[in-house]
Point group: C2
């Protein structure tokens, strides 16, 4: 039987080491962007090892085109980078974390493919969303196939880390996938049920599940497990959540005001009716007439919203201080995360990986992509 | 942390034994239907242990309603039954196979939720498909959540079977999920690309992946692994595929001619443009004029097909002998499967489980649901 189909590990640690060496060579960490680039190259070099070979004809060609195009579109690769850096900071080797980091990237891609359909998004990583190229039926199935690859990739941990750690890591993926599907349900429900009775607290709770745990806490925990320091994983939860929520607020800000290399549609959150921190602040601080007008716009389905209406909501966010407020909140959360990080990582190995993690806390609120 | 969210095993073997005992008590296998019913009750009793608690308000209520309604709608439960029976025939206890059997049922439900959207189906198990009740965005996410529960349930094998077997079983799930997403892509491609250059061989290859491996081979292999006889699993592949393909042909037949308790739309395959054995036989045996007419109908999108047109295709299948041919083919494959089964299971424990498996080979081609 084809080992690729049998669900067994088929990427040997040696193959992995060679791929990583060819991709990365010796890289000096110049700054946080070069760290992300180096980690991204490690993912680019290893991810293809975990995908079926390209080529073929007919259905196979289309199937592989979808999986390869989307999974190698790039993106920030923040989650796999955090996982690998956490592993290195806890005295592990990067290669110990690679299958797990690749699985995090595949998981993110799976969620993006499906979320973009659920939210009727248009652009992703500077290109049309997968369903806009291939249609909804193909894209649902391509997302499912990518999710299967997550579990297949996690099986490769057996060889490198042993059965017990492989299962502990798989359990972490179950937990974070549960949180993410629940978080997505909560967001969709708010839009669909035209829910306006929401406070900053509701937003923070949703963002903690959707971004805090998923984007920051889980990758840090997984990196520590890969390094054999799984006993530490509970230490990262409280401040990691803050870091991740700061990331999410910056995401909302970029969506509202744009950025140089921003790969999504500006104002997309308004088109999609998303309850962002900016919107919740706006609803609490604008006057009654404005509030009624904004609710009217936000409650319309995407295709009924005009560009002028969307611009008026974005403008109000600036005028009412919601943009400033979101910036300040993200900054405050990042500062709090930083002091938590310093304590939790006090005993970690000093050096590039630890420095890079500290720098990435600032990065998430300074980034323009 | 809530153990339900942490991805760790939270259903103790004792809880499972009690639930099974309460559900089944002592049941004498009267006939094959009572076997399926008994196994179905075992699933009904255990599946809720692997789902989050019902209740709550707002998004949580809707979320749980979707997961509970769909996962407990019933259905034949053939896959979990085959897994439990294979485990028992190989000297295992039913409870050793229960988490794996529940995971097979959850996997089936996940695929059905997504496939029904991809194929634009209307009915499933006598009720509207999930996306027709809740809309596509919620249903995509509910499918994903169900798929996460598959892996969460498989983690429960750690306690009962140990880490190595738990991982072997997870690897089997990866393999069968890969085959199923590929099979689905192949079928969708045929419809979308208006592919008519297809032979019986193409159909049999597709059905082997879609039904042969998934419906029969994998459950039998998994049951043997649960019983600690994983070394035997390769013996079931060749004849198990035939059994599963016979099952699929009977599925196509029921879709064309109906059955007393059939839970799907009659003629649904024609509406969806599916390339069934009946259709492929029909295209090879009708005259040129009929062939052109049928292609014209089949190439139309679902909403452009009239009930009269669909009836005319179904009638032609009867007139050209395609229905008879499909019946004969299913019968032949089932006979071949039976002789393979007798050999592979010659050393299995004599008794109810083995008898039930033999009877189920006939059942799949005699069933009317």
């Amino acid at each position: 039987m084809n080992p690729r189909v049998s669900g067994e590990t088929w990427v040997s640690p040696k193959t992995l080491r060679e791929a990583l060496f060819n991709a990365a060579g010796v890289v000096l960490y110049m700054d946080v962007l070069s760290v992300l680039q180096q980690k991204s190259r490690a993912i680019d070099a290893s991810l293809p090892l975990f995908l079926p070979k390209r080529g073929g004809a007919g259905w196979k060609r289309d199937y592989m085109d979808m999986l390869w195009d989307y999974n190698l579109r790039g993106g920030k690769r923040l989650r796999p980078a955090l996982c690998m850096l956490s592993c290195e900071a806890w005295w592990g080797k990067q290669e110990q974390a690679v299958p797990t980091a690749v699985a995090l990237e595949l998981l993110q891609n799976f969620f993006l493919i499906h979320d973009d359909m659920e939210d009727e998004s248009l652009l992703r990583r500077g290109k049309p969303c997968l369903h806009r190229i291939w249609g909804v039926p193909y894209a649902i199935n391509a997302g499912d196939a990518t999710f299967v690859k997550v579990w297949e990739t996690l099986m490769a941990n057996r060889g490198a880390l042993g059965d017990e750690k492989a299962l502990e890591i798989a359990g972490e993926f179950v937990a974070l996938s549960n949180r993410t599907t629940e978080g997505q349900m909560r967001e969709m429900y708010w839009v669909r049920e035209k829910e306006w009775d929401l406070t900053e607290r509701d937003y923070l709770e949703m963002a903690a599940e959707k971004a805090g745990y998923y984007t920051v806490v889980a990758p840090l925990r997984l990196g520590a497990i890969c390094a054999g320091r799984g006993g530490l994983k509970g230490n990262f939860d409280s401040w990691g959540i803050k870091w991740g929520v700061a990331f999410q607020i910056q995401d909302d800000l970029l969506n509202a005001v744009g950025g140089k290399k921003y790969g999504k549609e500006i104002g997309g959150d308004v088109y999609e009716g998303k309850r962002t921190l900016l919107l919740i602040h706006l609803m609490e601080h604008c006057n009654y007439k404005q509030k009624k007008e904004i609710m009217k716009i936000m409650n319309k389905p995407r295709e009924k919203k005009t560009a002028k209406e969307v611009r008026s909501v974005l403008k109000a966010m600036g005028d009412c201080g919601s943009v400033d407020y979101a910036r300040k909140t993200a900054r405050r959360l990042a500062e709090e995360a930083k002091s938590g990080f310093e304590k939790s990582f006090a005993d970690a190995r000093r050096g590039e990986a630890k420095d890079a993690l500290a720098a990435l806390i600032d990065y998430v609120i300074e980034r323009d992509v």
